[in-house]
Subunit: 271 residues, 2 copies
């Protein structure tokens, strides 16, 4: 059966094409239906256990390297975290059919990507937002490296051949992304390092484990150096707590929003 898997799949496809499934109804003849309340009998749900939120699936086949967005999550430049993110707008407690909420998200919340429009007025005007970032860059082989913890980092003997490189640093050891207070003494890339990456490597995606790819004092020139070519994607706020250095398949998928110079993203590593 395993050897004929493709055949089974194609057969199934044909069955679905020709087949007949109680799934959808074409109600074109009904025209536009009016909204009406849908009274339903109550559904009996046995008292469920609380859910488990996982960072690692199936012994490391998938690592979720995205930080959970919640009110206590750190936010750039403020001492007391994100604050309220989700607001309930319809509640079953008030007789609604279902729960519905809305989210207020600063564009650079938690694990997120930066667009060229973040630091360049010209790119902002032309619309180089995060929805223009290359999905090929955001999905593919990726290197995770450990940055030495006990010294400054000065130069690299050889240029990385990897197009995607994410740095696990002292930020992870210090659990900075797990503290509501913003810490400006995080580890980031300095201006010289950014220029070196652009001039000497093939890196097209660069990630880091705190809210900014750039060291605090070089925030502007480092971002400018990385984003200027519009070919490098910057991923910030990665959760590398459970990951060891090595090569993985990265899938980093920011939500697709027109006009945003930064966008929350979900990122996973597969091995």
């Amino acid at each position: 059966m395993a050897g004929n898997k493709r055949g089974v799949q194609l057969m199934l496809l044909l069955q679905l094409w020709t087949g007949v499934l109680t799934i959808a109804v074409l109600s074109l003849d009904e025209g536009l239906l009016t909204l009406k309340p849908q009274v339903q009998p109550p559904v009996d749900i046995p008292n469920p256990d609380p859910p488990v939120r996982r960072d690692v699936y199936y012994n490391g086949k998938i690592f979720d390297i995205t930080h959970l967005i919640y009110p206590g999550m750190p936010k750039w430049g403020v001492p007391d975290g994100m604050g309220q993110v989700v607001t309930v707008t319809e509640s079953m407690k008030n007789g609604s059919d279902c729960y519905v909420s809305e989210m207020k998200l600063p564009s650079h919340t938690g694990t997120h990507v930066d667009a060229p429009s973040h630091f360049f007025e010209e790119y902002y005007e032309k619309g180089y937002d995060t929805s223009t970032l290359n999905l090929k860059t955001l999905n593919g082989p990726a290197l995770v490296v450990d940055v030495p913890r006990n010294s400054n980092i000065t130069e690299l003997a050889n240029s990385p051949r990897n197009r995607s490189c994410s740095f696990r640093t002292l930020n992870t050891d210090r659990k900075l992304m797990h503290q509501s207070e913003f810490h400006s003494d995080y580890v980031g890339i300095m201006k010289d390092g950014a220029e070196w990456i652009v001039d000497n490597t093939n890196i097209k995606l660069v990630g880091i484990d705190y809210l900014s790819i750039a060291s605090y004092n070089d925030a502007v020139p480092t971002h400018q150096a990385l984003l200027r070519s519009r070919k490098i994607v910057v991923v910030e706020g990665l959760n590398l707590d459970k990951v060891t250095a090595g090569i993985y398949d990265l899938h980093c998928l920011p939500i697709r929003v027109l006009g945003a110079e930064g966008t929350p993203t979900r990122c996973i590593l597969m091995s």
Copy 2:
């Protein structure tokens, strides 16, 4: 060289471990730095062409099956679309170092996932939000099928063996996701169809090409049937305009938000 790729990668890794890169500085001894303005010389950017937003990358290696979120995007139950999503909070026009914005997103915006907490009070109370959805279900082989356009759909001869199944329907032909006005005469799954899926198939992810997986008149019971087991992920608002029926690798990565019963997601198909 190709044969020794892994060796090169490991060597590179070692170089990065022992190596010394002008990338980050550990400024622990400086303590918490005070915020200060960073005056930079202007950067000369030649007038760039407008960006190209793509649904298909590299001749179909990657399909972006996510609809762009923008003010004219349709929104459940309203005649005039989403309205403003992104608000600029810091602008370089006003002297800021960079552009920063925030987003207001209804939880079921555009291409999004539903959690069990959407339609069950018990699950809402226990925290079965979208951040509890299984990433294994959301990342893996996936079937895209065409639903017959010119008749009702009644029953299926064989149960699909695929764990992930997305339906391309008349909604795509009618370009409903490209119209600001909400259309309640979209194609969706009826209560019987949902129960049939749960009872007769291995489907753990079910996707569709308009704002709801459920037909308009069966909105509550269809969602209840699909979400009750907490093992099926519902993906709504898929963009299947450019995709043909077949087997792909799906990566569907909703942002990781505590407490949301629905979450915008980015979804791609790889082939």
